[in-house]
């Protein structure tokens, strides 16, 4: 059918066709036209402003990075001390282009992890952290009330962090319950979960230097924003139980909603795994 029309239409163009009477009135569409619209007009549609993405990239826009050759990206990665991340195949071609771009994007934060984090803190924040870790007696203030032993304090906090990590690792080796599971659209904590939470409460009470981050998650069903809220409610209901042990101050709660599944899939098995709260010590 359509082919026929296409063929026939070429014939029409060769033959002359009836002239049209444009002035004829009564056109069913005519009233729809805005009369002022009919004349010739200049429209400036040239050069849409280039989209600029300054977020998270440092000296490059994201579009710039995406358009660079692999060799250029490798050069930037080396400049930024990211050469360890570069993966080349046998022919010397870049294998992990996306990962390298992400690393460049994030490179502002890529110094030596924990030390960099501490270095970046203000004196006040360091003092607060030292206090919260029970290291208040280490703090030395000068006559003006300013922190006098910043470097020493950072080192001490680093040492404490290393010791804390060992404690956490030890606990991880001795216990296998770092995830609690939930029912669909539910924040209820069952008996098994309660027992697990008590185990964690005991651990925290025995080890005052550890802090806990509770990460709430949801399965993929339902809307993303509702699930973000639901994930937080799950984590909060765990925190509520831990709160009975006066541990509130050492617990932070975050939610990833459905954004960070353990198991990807649209089935009961995956959903069950993904409706969870994870214990993450630091």
């Amino acid at each position: 059918m359509s082919k026929k029309i296409l063929l026939l239409s070429s014939v029409i163009l060769l033959s002359s066709c009836a002239s049209t009477n444009i002035s004829e009135l009564g056109d069913k569409f005519l009233d729809l036209i805005n009369p002022s619209d009919a004349a010739t007009e200049q429209v400036d549609l040239s050069g849409d402003a280039t989209l600029i993405a300054m977020d998270e990239t440092g000296g490059f826009t994201i579009s710039e990075l995406e358009q660079l050759s692999n060799d250029d990206l490798i050069a930037i990665a080396k400049e930024k001390g990211l050469e360890d991340l570069i993966v080349l195949d046998a022919d010397g071609n870049l294998q992990n282009r996306d990962q390298i771009i992400n690393a460049i994007v994030e490179s502002g934060d890529l110094m030596d992890g924990k030390t960099a984090e501490l270095e970046s803190l203000s004196d006040d924040a360091l003092i607060e952290m030292a206090n919260s870790k029970g290291m208040g007696e280490m703090i030395i203030l000068d006559a003006d009330g300013n922190l006098a032993n910043r470097d020493e304090l950072i080192n001490a906090l680093m040492d404490a962090a290393v010791a804390t990590l060992a404690i956490i690792q030890n606990f991880k080796n001795s216990s296998d319950s770092f995830i609690l599971y939930f029912s669909y659209d539910d924040t209820e904590i069952d008996e098994i979960s309660t027992r697990t939470i008590i185990e964690h409460a005991n651990f925290m009470q025995d080890n005052p230097s550890v802090s806990l981050r509770l990460e709430g998650h949801a399965d993929e069903r339902g809307t993303r924003e509702y699930n973000l809220a639901l994930g937080e409610n799950r984590a909060l209901s765990v925190k509520e139980v831990l709160g009975l042990y006066n541990l509130d101050d050492r617990i932070t709660v975050i939610s990833y909603g459905e954004e960070s599944p353990v198991l990807v899939g649209s089935n009961e098995e995956a959903w069950k795994e993904n409706r969870r709260v994870e214990f993450s010590y630091y």
């Binding site: 059918m1 359509s2 033959s15 729809l32 040239s46 990833y256």
Partner: protein
């Protein structure tokens, strides 16, 4: 229907070479669409531009569900065989030409004729630079739509959406992208290894609010994609901050904040930086959407134990429940005329886009999918874009509210999700 498929085959072939979302298929198209001819444009002079204006227009009009736009295999210059087109039941014929006047400047001519009255409905000459061809094609699509239907089109607008791709190393890359309304010309405005969600355009199209996990928690950022400015983070809160929705005035943003664990909707004034609490219920209140007049918000709440949609009149303060059918209704968004809500409605085990007539409370389920999310109206209200799953992969889907025709858009690799449609550009 056969004609449509014939044309679509070509879409598919052309689409693969382009850096854009791919149009994959059209489902459930009915015969009710308006049959018209859009002939290829004549090119006079040197045109290195490979952009086929007529094809962009045809694809646009077909996607709306209100037209069945076919091509011809030769150009039409000035003579139209009206008898032939009458015989083949075509209602209108559109043709045009592209004429180079200097290396970068072109004149584009367009003519629209009514087949039955044999009269010119519209003609125009527009001068444009070579970089504006694609925008011009969308602009002309809106013109044709208006001339033939008397309503504004939604073609010269933008989409924003989030893409997710897996790296070789197992990590994910999230990108917030902006494209033309047909998925072409995509540009990345935010890129992150951490989740990005809920992009929302301000009404004037200058600003985009979105949620980023770059600091390992959900926070709302506002950026100006067309200017060199750094995204602003809205004030930090102790719990989640998410679900941004612009007030039509552009002066404030509704967002969900969890203070002491209670998730409520607040209005954040961008100038005074003050927060006004809009909901106070102990349950989850989230996913706010402003009515076009800015006087009400629709939102999702589980205050009765079920997830349902409520509307708060911001003048009287009165909150009323909007959905009564089914046990799960969420993510409401107002239609441009304020009379309907698009939302996600649970049917059995499936989550589907539905349309709610606010006044009559009539709820119409629009799809037969398993997991629809994030519905959003085109600015003329004629289409809804949403995300759904095909073969375990996130894709975008556009449904025409005139004949339920569905057009699906996907990426070659990775997922695409959370679409929103910009307002008209000025």
């Amino acid at each position: 229907m056969k004609n449509l498929k014939f044309i679509l085959l070509f879409n598919l072939l052309f689409s693969f070479s382009a850096n854009a979302l791919l149009e994959v298929n059209i489902l459930k198209s009915k015969e009710a669409a308006f049959p018209i001819i859009i002939a290829p444009f004549e090119v006079i002079g040197d045109s290195k531009e490979s952009i086929d204006i007529a094809k962009i227009i045809r694809d646009n009009l077909n996607r709306s569900g209100q037209f069945r736009a076919l091509s011809t295999d030769t150009i039409i210059t000035n003579k139209i065989d009206f008898d032939f087109w009458q015989e083949h039941k075509k209602d209108a014929v559109v043709f045009g030409k592209v004429e180079q006047v200097s290396p970068k400047i072109y004149n584009i001519y367009i003519y629209i004729y009514d087949v039955f009255s044999e009269k010119s409905l519209y003609q125009k000459k527009i001068t444009v630079s070579n970089s504006g061809f694609r925008r011009m094609a969308h602009f002309l699509s809106d013109k044709i739509y208006y001339v033939l239907l008397g309503q504004k089109g939604s073609f010269n607008t933008r989409l924003s959406y989030v893409t997710v791709t897996e790296n070789n190393s197992g990590g994910r890359t999230y990108k917030l992208q902006i494209s033309d309304s047909d998925g072409f010309n995509p540009q990345t405005v935010v890129r992150s290894p951490n989740p990005i969600l809920s992009p929302a355009w301000s009404k004037d199209q200058r600003k985009l609010a979105y949620v980023s996990f770059k600091n390992n928690r959900s926070e709302v950022f506002v950026m100006t994609p067309f200017l060199k400015t750094i995204p602003i983070r809205l004030p930090k809160f102790d719990g989640i901050a998410s679900s941004p929705a612009w007030h039509p005035s552009g002066k404030s943003i509704a967002l969900t904040i969890s203070k002491q664990g209670n998730k409520d909707i607040y209005l954040y004034d961008l100038k005074s930086k003050k927060l006004e609490r809009l909901t106070t219920n102990i349950s989850i209140d989230t996913e706010a959407s402003f009515s076009p007049d800015g006087n009400s918000i629709a939102f999702t709440s589980n205050r009765t134990g079920q997830v349902q949609i409520y509307i708060k009149n911001l003048k009287s303060g009165k909150i009323s429940r909007a959905t009564f059918e089914g046990r799960y209704n969420a993510k409401p968004v107002f239609s441009p005329n304020g009379k309907d809500l698009a939302l996600i409605h649970r049917v059995g085990k499936d989550y589907r886009v539905a349309l709610l007539d606010i006044k009559s409370r009539d709820l119409t389920v629009m799809t037969s999918n398993k997991s629809d999310e994030s519905p959003y109206f085109s600015p003329n209200g004629g289409m809804i874009i949403f995300s759904t799953n095909r073969d375990n992969k996130g894709i975008l889907s556009i449904i025409s509210l005139y004949n339920n025709q569905i057009v699906e858009l996907m990426q070659k690799t990775g997922e695409v999700r959370e679409p929103t449609w910009s307002n008209y550009s000025n």
